[in-house]
């Protein structure tokens, strides 16, 4: 094959893959029940998939592991819930509130983090997450403490002449989340394709060389970190809307672990990898936990197998070998 032909067919394959993914997502409420699925499961996959993609934004594309990223997810959830409960009965405002709370907190704390790398970085993020966890747990007058933040629910979208009932209609809510997901994914893709995104990948590949090229490393890492926190908080806000509930465990590092696993399972260096990982993880867990009480062993074994034999994840297995 000539290089040009190869390039075109690569583009063709890429478009085909996008088409498949979006077709599956758009028609999910219709084909899922045929396989024993249900719409709320699809919505959960989307939300957790977005969270996994946010972690991957940092991990797969900048090479920075944050193992406490659930902190921003949880802040997003609490932000949205608190806004709905105390401020205004508006779904878009709640989303904004959650995103801003988690994103800004991440951006501020990120300033402290950027000089560290590797395991240090990961552990500091865990530390932050756990401090938020304890605050959510103890400040029960605000957050409901261990019993969780309740008494709020997602509000219908009011477009004047007509309303879309997101609360009672699962399918409408699924499409709402899909639109949000698409918007976030679009922004993410845009950033990754921009010069900034390429710089991030350069930093991932060889930080020292990037530094010698005069690239301000810490600034880039901070921006990447802050962006991923905003995405994460957005996912968290959606999660609160999905459950009409938020509890402290949504800030715990074990949830962060799940997101990292999804990213690795699906393919860490691929854009859509984490979504696929979320599909596998969430659906499998949902299915296996109905069948056997020992689902933890199965999931644990799956994680072990993936790490040992498929470290590039499912997409890494299926897909093309990239030259870069």
């Amino acid at each position: 094959m000539t290089p040009k032909a190869r390039g075109l067919s690569q583009q063709g394959r890429h478009l085909a893959m996008l088409a498949v993914i979006w077709a599956a997502l758009v028609f999910a409420p219709y084909w899922m029940p045929l396989f024993g699925g249900y719409t709320a499961l699809g919505t959960r996959v989307l939300v957790l998939g977005l969270a996994a993609m946010s972690v991957n934004f940092l991990l797969g594309f900048t090479g920075v592991l944050s193992f406490g990223h659930a902190a921003w997810f949880g802040l997003g959830a609490y932000g949205a819930g608190l806004c709905l409960k105390w401020v205004a009965l508006s779904t878009p405002l709640a989303l904004l509130a959650g995103t801003v709370l988690g994103g800004v907190a991440g951006a501020i704390l990120g300033v402290l983090l950027v000089r560290r790398r590797g395991v240090y970085f990961a552990m500091v993020t865990i530390a932050f997450g756990q401090v938020f966890y304890y605050i959510a747990f103890q400040w029960s007058s605000l957050t409901g403490g261990d019993d969780g933040l309740r008494g709020f629910e997602r509000q219908p979208l009011d477009f004047g002449p007509f309303k879309i009932d997101l609360l009672h209609n699962d399918v409408y809510f699924y499409y709402f989340v899909l639109v949000c997901f698409a918007a976030a994914a679009a922004v993410m893709a845009f950033v990754l394709r921009s010069p900034f995104g390429h710089t991030m990948i350069a930093i991932r590949e060889n930080e020292r060389r990037a530094r010698f090229l005069g690239i301000p490393i810490e600034l880039h890492i901070w921006i990447a970190f802050a962006l991923s926190c905003f995405f994460m908080a957005f996912a968290g806000a959606l999660y609160a809307l999905l459950n009409n509930f938020a509890d402290p465990r949504v800030l715990h590092y074990s949830l962060s672990g799940d997101f990292v696993i999804m990213a690795v399972m699906g393919g860490m260096r691929r854009f859509w990898g984490p979504l696929l990982g979320a599909v596998i993880f969430v659906v499998l867990q949902d299915y296996i936990s109905s069948v056997t009480v020992n689902w933890m062993s199965f999931i644990g074994a799956l994680i072990v197998l993936i790490v040992l034999f498929f470290p590039r994840g499912v997409l890494g297995l299926l897909g093309q070998r990239r030259t870069a």
């Binding site: 401090v131 994680i303 072990v304």
Partner: protein, 289 residues
Amino acid sequence: MLELTFFNVTNGLIIGAFYALMAIGLSLILNLSGVINFAHGGFLVIGGYLAYTLRPYIGFWGALIVAPFLTAIIGIAVERLLIRRLYGRDPLYSLLLTFGLAFIIEDGTRQFWGANGLPFSVPEGLTSALSSKFFFITGYRMFMVAMVAIVVGLLFVLLRYTRIGVRIRAGTLDLETVSALGVNVRALRSLNFAVGIFLAGLAGVLAAGQIGLEPTMGDSLLMPSFIAIIVGGVGSLTGTLFGGLLIGVASGLTAVIFPSASEAVIYVMMAIVLLVRPRGLLGEEGMLT
């Protein structure tokens, strides 16, 4: 108030000794093989449950000695089959693999021994209070501290004076050279892992005597162990020892001043250390970048 502070500091040291025991095992594995063992708490649980099962046959003291060895053997098997393949790779993978392993261990212990908590009694002689008037400390807690001190002491002797110990220490600094000098690095790594797991198993037996047995009991001890390593300094076992004691005392002190924050304070400490002096108190620069 002074009395309360004194007690809490003493208790903090006792808890800290326990954290240190866990953390040192974790540190050994991390330093030599670059493996972040998220299943360390799971091995603690295995050690405790094995002791429970063995106890009717060989008594408390027998179980105390045998269970950690059995746990270490399981550890070697895990190292050979699973962990070995990850050497040289990004620590992320060992973290994830052991994360998955922890799932399996929790489910396995629940399947084998049931979900309900199990009591683990300690011999009469150990449980009585030493003196009820001033030092409100029981014999068992002193026993735990003594065990930790003995075992850690033995470990330091092993590392300092035996050939294997020297090799482990050398391997921590430069594994390639050690290998080039003809040392069987694979065996060294397995043995090192086994020692680390032995310590976890021992911690499990000691914990069982204190709080009983439950499949999820390892979870709450895992994070403090990592924190002890970071605060004390990655790469330095002495540092880890002090790190454990330090966070134990900090937790105890906070219990006096601001009880609801006593669990969170160790995370705050870790954050401060990481941001101000990431190598920790006694750590080497650049150990984990």
